[in-house]
């Protein structure tokens, strides 16, 4: 196997192992950031937030995931477009 391919395979295995491991041990995994937990810790001290957002917030968990998915899709789309463009440029340059 080429060294570059080997690196990619090892990388994917490491990522997969960590994600699967996390999923296996997670149990209840709420769609909230670790900062939400930190907010809980602050609540215990009896502090009340001084500002409640009156602006728009996602009406439901599904809509929230939708926007997160869009965010990821947007980023992935742009990077893959450029990566593909570069790969094509390189291939064309090699032909000359």
């Amino acid at each position: 196997m080429k060294r570059s391919t080997l690196e990619i395979v090892i990388g994917l295995v490491v990522i997969l192992a960590l994600v699967v491991g996390a999923l296996a041990f997670a149990g209840e995994a709420e769609w909230g950031g670790a900062d939400g937990n930190a907010a809980g810790l602050i609540d215990e001290t009896g502090y009340t937030p001084w500002y409640e957002s009156t602006l728009w917030s996602p009406p439901s968990g599904e809509v929230e995931s939708l926007i997160f998915a869009l965010q990821a899709a947007f980023g992935a789309g742009i990077s893959c477009l450029i990566f593909g463009y570069w790969a094509g440029q390189r291939k064309a340059a090699r032909k000359d």
Partner: protein, 227 residues
Amino acid sequence: MEGYLPIEWCIFWAVISVPFILIGLWQMKKLIQKDRKVLPLMAVCGAFVFVLSALKIPSVTGSCSHPTGTGLSSAFFGPFVTSVLGTIVLLFQAILLAHGGLTTLGANVFSMAIFGPLVAWAVFLGLRKLKLGLGLSVGITAGVANLVTYSLTALQLALAFPVDGSILSAFVAFAGIFAVTQIPLAIIEGVICGLVAKFVVRVKPDILKTLGIIEDEEIAKIQGEAA
């Protein structure tokens, strides 16, 4: 976290962050004027922050957390440009997702888009001085950016909410929440960014050369690995 950080701290972090973003905008303009070729790479780095900060992965602590994605642009463009890219993403999440929060924007920008990238960038320069390969250097840089970001968040919260008057014990409590979640994420982020960096060297080495990140010798070596 909207409203959780006391207002004095919100203002404090926002004021510190502003100069970094201004320098970042100025650097961006200069880089693009000098050579438009860097623009696509800058877009990729920004897109990376978008993707990685949207990926919420469950953690052993029973909640989800996400990587920061700022490592790639810290390594390639340094902390100032990264602060601009990170701020765009944080604004998006704060406005559309009510995630992170607008009042806490300054604090979040400072931890995720400024301080994490700043330390990571220093680490990257150090590793490159030691002649460590580009892939590994970028990988470690990305992991460091992530861990430093969350350590600083813990410190910011501890400064605002000392436990029984002790900032240190508050820091330990907050850091405990973040640490378990972030270490696996930092590794994942490092692996992804390292692989992407090597891919860029293979398909578009001239941009990295323009940025002074890599020399011909290493480009030939990395490209040879794919042959």
